[in-house]
Symmetry: C2
Subunit: 369 residues, 2 copies
């Protein structure tokens, strides 16, 4: 003890090298030097571990004498002490980690959501655990199981369907949960979404104003609020203008990916009287539609207009420039992150649905006829 006390005044550089051994610690198992722990710091500083804990915690630092805070801080730095977050989690019940479930990070809507989310929670010290459900309910469910097992402090679901067992699972596990981009029918979790109905109404209105009467729609799965509401938006605007949406002009896809857009467009364009405009549930589907046009030698927008939704990163560079609906995913991610933080901090006012507006971006894939 006295020997250690004497060391405190000296240059502590040597501590870094021989660390624990030099201070007379017993050898750790299998002579594999373990990282320094709180008790190592405590011994070197001649204080109790709990004092170290307090000295190193900005919240409680004030209750410790300046001298000890300084000594402890220095020694901790010198020997490269890092609090073991796992052990802390065990005690506090908080892992300072949140889980995020998406379908596939390759879908261009997710990166800005993820980034917005991370940015929103980063200063609070939270980390993000990411899982790609890959459109498989089982895989997504397994992912959530693991997140729960790892005691994440909260979960953000971006895969929510209207009746979602995953939402129930998170709720049953009493884990703060937020849904983004989609919401469950029962509103059982706070959700941050864009206004799909309005977005599609605006787009459809725009299409109609361009003179289109034969309007087709490649819709998304009706099991998700986004797919459902976007179709509602199309229908509502069409109806208001007295335009019919005949069954052969409505293609509902299971997975709104490029292949689906391609396949649906191949069918639409081989109709006896094909549509003059195709409203797609999203940009990726619209790209598939464009590819089908190219293969069929049908010109877009000369022969057929195509519209997208989401305004994902590359849409401004495609040819023809895709007319679409801009959605601020980064902001949605940000709001979802803040909402989750509120839930985690326990101040959850009400489960609610936050809606961010979206608006049409006119480019070249939609033309006036």
């Amino acid at each position: 003890m006295r020997k250690q006390a004497a060391n405190n005044g000296q240059d502590l550089a040597w501590l870094r090298k021989c660390a624990i051994r030099c201070a007379g610690y017993e050898q750790r198992e299998s002579d594999k030097l373990m990282p320094p722990k709180i008790s190592d710091v405590a011994r070197l500083a001649n204080v109790h571990p709990s004092t170290v804990s307090r000295a190193l915690d900005p919240t409680k630092r004030s209750r410790i004498s300046d001298e000890i805070v300084a000594r402890v801080t220095k020694i901790a730095n010198d020997i490269g002490y890092r609090p073991n977050a796992v052990a802390a989690s065990m005690r506090t019940g908080s892992t300072r980690t949140i889980g995020v479930v998406v379908h596939d990070v390759n879908d261009p809507i997710y990166p800005p959501l993820i980034k917005g989310l991370e940015d929103a929670v980063l200063d609070t010290g939270l980390m993000v655990m990411l899982g790609n459900g890959g459109f498989s309910a089982d895989r997504a469910s397994g992912l959530v199981d693991r997140m729960i097992a790892r005691a994440v402090d909260g979960i953000v679901l971006a895969t929510t369907v209207l009746d979602d067992p995953l939402v129930e699972k998170c709720l049953a596990a009493k884990i703060p949960t937020v849904s983004m981009v989609r919401y469950p029918r029962d509103g059982s979790v706070t959700s941050v979404v864009n206004d799909c109905v309005s977005g599609m109404e605006q787009m459809t209105q725009h299409v109609i104003e361009c003179g289109h009467q034969r309007v087709a729609c490649i819709a998304g799965p009706q099991t998700s609020s986004a797919g459902h509401n976007r179709l509602i938006g199309v229908r509502s605007s069409l109806h208001r203008s007295g335009i019919d949406l005949p069954p052969e002009f409505l293609k509902i896809t299971d997975q709104p990916r490029m292949e689906a857009g391609y396949a649906a467009t191949m069918e639409l364009l081989s109709l006896a009287t094909p549509p003059t405009a195709i409203i797609c549930v999203n940009d990726v589907v619209a790209m598939g539609a464009m590819r089908a046009c190219r293969e069929l030698g049908v010109s877009c927008p000369e022969d057929v207009s195509i519209t997208g939704f989401n305004n994902v990163a590359f849409t401004e560079f495609v040819a023809p420039g895709l007319t679409t609906v801009a959605v601020d995913f980064q902001r949605i991610g940000d709001l979802a992150g803040r909402a989750l933080l509120s839930e985690i901090e326990g101040k959850c006012p009400q489960k609610n649905i936050q809606t961010v507006p979206c608006h049409v971006v006119s480019r070249d894939s939609l033309r006036v006829i």
Copy 2:
């Protein structure tokens, strides 16, 4: 005890409802029902917690009598017991979680890397913790600190520069580490990269074969192996063909983003004798170059050819179709995941650099002159 034993033969459905309470457990703190723990299962099954642990572990299940395995399994299911992974980590030292550090998930090279990685490690039960360094060394460093504090089993760095303090930090923390897409100069960690030198040589050769003599290059930061090697590839091919790369034709960017490509191209095209071809370090920079062309009223590829690198998701849809170098990022992610698994399992044969080949994809942005 006897009472519980009797219950085992009965319908255990009621257990789910009243769970712990019904079995005569003392009330848990603040009457907030905590999730069931291993000892809860143990009591209900009339066995010791360690027996439950073994019965539920596929590895050790064989050492337990079938009868007990069945009983324990049923009860665990009935009361919805989930092993607390945090507590297990505390004991085993393994969190079954890996950290992944990228610059920005919005950069289209990262999603396939991340997905490939996740797919590679998913069956082994690992989860992925994601961090966006955002081109800030400090932020990335903080991210790694937190990952280490959370005791991740391994780290995959996709932000590695030739002399990387982050690599050293991971190594110092004795954490299995793998680098992807880039490697450190000293080869101190196993790395999985694409063959940038060869890729750029092929591309440059292709440009030369198209008859270009005035070839410019918008290079990436020379602090990273990718940026460095791609420029080497350009230089090497040019040199072999006896073509000069004058200083004004070489633009080196700090952050190879769209803005950089735009700015560099604006300069290149305002030269007295501008280049006829611009070789860009990546697709995103090439998009910036294309935008500059559009603004300047310079036609691509009529007036100037532009090439990219990476063949990211949207390149085939842009106009003109971008001639680029295809890199299989999903595969790189997969290999990085496998490499990390080997490191984690301790069978790290040698630190090495795995190189996956890449090849030119010809589209329309490069033309014969």
